[in-house]
């Protein structure tokens, strides 16, 4: 995918309506456009990214509305339907893993729980962990990265070494070990709550150095810019420079890294659940479904295909959207 290199107006617009909108927008802001607006206009022309964005929005809606959806759909994610299981093989009766008008994506082997309802609820866990751990990583990474880059010296050394250390840390192994020694109850949470909390913290904690490094690098180059020098010579305080002069110019890379980080986090959550240290039963999770499906990949392949597709589509959508955002915000793209 390539980013549009020319000014939007210079190109032949893909549609009249869009062109009109662009022209209209230009008409309103004759003097120049904000970075955000330029990016948005670029993003709008990137069909793949838009499609990704739509899927992402849809997934968020599904996750938020999971209880409503399953209610309308008429199946509880944790209800057993053993009458739909062939007792000889433990797999669903009927073709394609027991797909039917009642159970759109079939039922699970052995216990007959509805797969569609579980996929819908699984989206909750995936997105919750994906987003919140990204938030943790972004907050930590931006703050520490900007501090390292701006202050330099020993502050930079300490933070940079910590980042190096964390990047070299075996995150997955550490998480597995940590989850297994976690108490069942803490901070008013129990069971799955604890697990989700721990996953968010750990994934976020190990994710921040990626953002931290980028922010530090950007800050290093920005702090020598003329406008920062100017602010400094005018007597601006450190925190004014940090938050009013530097931070706004870091927004673009931070957004790009956030959108790229979410799908990675979703995959990490799936991997942890796959390994049995994710959410606890009966809470539905895509990774856990995949792991259960291993024993049935020949006799009931649909059970593996469905959660696999869910993860695939989600990660792909986030990646496409993230790519689009990066291209749209890419400083090298124009200016």
């Amino acid at each position: 995918m390539t980013a549009p290199l020319h000014e939007p107006t210079a190109e032949t617009a893909p549609s009249a309506a869009e062109e009109a909108a662009v022209i209209g927008a230009e008409a309103k802001a004759v003097q120049g456009r904000s970075l955000g607006r330029i990016a948005w206009e670029r993003l709008k022309r990137d069909k793949l990214a838009l499609a990704g964005g739509v899927v992402v929005l849809f997934l968020i809606l599904v996750a938020v509305l999971a209880p409503v959806i399953t209610k309308l759909y008429g199946q509880d994610p944790n209800a057993y339907h053993e009458d739909l299981i062939d007792p000889l093989f433990g797999t669903p009766t009927g073709s394609l893993g027991g797909m039917s008008g009642e159970h759109w994506l079939g039922v699970e082997p052995v216990n007959g729980r509805d797969i569609f309802a579980r996929i819908v609820y699984g989206a909750q866990i995936s997105l919750l962990v994906g987003f919140l751990s990204a938030v943790v990583a972004v907050v930590l990474g931006t703050v520490l990265g900007i501090l390292a880059g701006f202050f330099g010296g020993w502050v930079d050394s300490v933070i940079s070494r910590v980042m190096d250390g964390l990047l070299a840390f075996p995150q997955l192994l550490f998480t597995i070990a940590l989850v297994s020694v976690m108490p069942n109850q803490m901070l008013g949470l129990t069971g799955t709550g604890v697990r989700v909390f721990v996953m968010i913290l750990v994934i976020g904690f190990f994710g921040w150095p990626y953002i931290g490094r980028v922010v530090r690098g950007q800050t290093l180059s920005l702090r020598e810019r003329e406008y920062v020098e100017a602010a400094r010579s005018l007597g601006a305080g450190r925190f004014y420079i940090l938050f009013k002069e530097l931070l706004p110019n870091l927004v673009a890379p931070v957004i790009v890294y956030t959108t790229m980080m979410i799908p990675t986090n979703i995959l990490t959550e799936a991997a942890l659940s796959f390994l049995g240290v994710g959410v606890k039963p009966p809470t539905a999770s895509w990774g856990q479904m995949l792991s259960n499906a291993i024993d049935y990949y020949e006799s009931d392949p649909m059970y593996m295909v469905v959660p696999g597709l869910a993860i695939f589509i989600t990660v792909l959508a986030f990646n496409l959207f993230g790519d689009g955002v990066r291209d749209a915000l890419d400083p090298k793209g124009s200016r």
Binding site: N78, Y80, E82, G90, V110, N111, N184, S299
Partner: protein, 598 residues
Amino acid sequence: MTTQRTSGRRKQALAAAAVVAALLTTAACGGGDGGGDEGSKNGAAGFDAANNKVAQASLAKKGGTLKFAGTQDADSWDTTRGYYGFMWNFSRYYSRQLVTNKTEPGKAGAEVTPDLATGLAKVSDDGKTYTYTLRDGITWEDGKPITSKDIKYGIERVWAQDVLSGGPVYLKDVLDPKGEYPGPYKDKSKDKLGLKAIETPDDKTIVFKLPKPNSDFESMLALTSASPVRQDKDTKAKYGLRPFSSGPYKFQSYEPGKSLTLVRNTEWKQSSDPVRKAYPDKITINFFSNANDLDARLIAGDYDLDINQTGMSPQGRATALKQHKDNLDNPVSGYIRYAVFPQSVKPFDNIHCRKAVIYGADHVSLQTARGGPIAGGDIGTNMLPPSVPGAEGQKYDPYELAGANKKGNVAKAKEELKACGQPNGFKTTIAVRNNKPAEVATAQSLQASLKKVGITAEIDQYDGSQSPGIIGSPSNVKKKGYGIIIMGWGPDFASVQGYGMPLWDSNYILESGNNNYALIKDKEIDGLFDEYVTTLDDSKKTEISKQINHKVMEGAYYLPFVFEKFVNWRSSRLANVYSTDAYNGTYDFVNLGLKSSK
């Protein structure tokens, strides 16, 4: 099997998991026409043809290589240290005992028969003295005769638990209950034969003097841990790598976790051994890391049978049931799969809360989670496995688990909750091993059905290999609030002592490695065990076993899931195949033969 120690044996027996029912109906035909020796097209004996009966005995030829495959190596091939059922079974190839299990199918297989000894024990002194005379012509693999002193030394090794841990310790408990003998490695006497309870007046005679009679003593002598070991060949902790053979085969090579090869012991004489037929020339085991891979190789005919004998995994089982039913048997394993309620965790100190769980559970759902009626077993209704004398099977069903309440009885469960003082239900935690998919499935089923009666259960999956320290520690169980523990158990030898004593006798409650998870402290049950141990009359022993089982069920300490069954593969090359209760319904290895000597 497995007692005393929550050893890995149960672990993997548990793996004998899941599925299947329609087979029941087709079983009749499958078994019917496979009954004869001719078998099906490919030569397989037919479905269930070797289940409690001998299949194709007349087709066995001398010679050939018998090929085992497995996913799990033995805990140790040292006769003193092994505790896995398949290891006991396999060890008969290279070790002999005074008495051993009969090489007969089904129940008869669990009876004892003379091996190194000329006959069963001459019991005197009110059951406190057992005397055996040794056969002529019994030899070690270097041709030297096996003496009564070798047998005594082999048994003494059980005392050296600090060096040779892992095996069953029944003999030590019975012969030296106070633990006075320090074991052969710390023995001050010159010949290292200082154990007073065993006398060897000459090389052909051995006398056991029990401080207290024990009616199952001869069954304990039939365990692999009573095998002879020669002092000059005892490599202590390393003995398991290369045991010195007293049987028809000896070790040729062994790479732990990879492969094992036995070849004929040319010094062994058929005339000296009334038990072993020694058909194949060579016996090999190859270990795989993946159970699905193993099943595929069995089905392809690359190997003859699974050394672990835990049943096929769901994938291979489905294929085998569809395409190779004549190669399958569906025996009862002797294990009971169950949930147990530690009384130290509130509200399970109250019998009515325990009963609420028993009534609230959906027993058909639990059975399906275990694998259904074929691969899981019949719904369990009490706590005595079918292979143990005194067992009544589904006939004794005090809570109607296989009857009126088999789908769960919500009304009755709520009544019990009221009687317990928890009319709105309560919260608890189910502890389950994380490495046993079928156990996790039963925990989830229980969680789902208990929710309907208002009992909210959280599932805690712990590291299965750490069981002794996690659920085997009563203080940890209490701390973690494990109100329900999912487990399974099979007999070490077919008696209520070999099955239930560690589970139900208050004397067996331990700080660590405890198996009396319910913390049963019932004077009547303890008393019945004491009575059982000193009773020599078989019919009375059976009666006491029954009573113990009833007492345990009346106390509502356990929720049995299934009397376990499993689906077992035998290749079309095998002859003289039969399952035996001696090793929990698995094939008796020692007399397996091949149809061709290739």
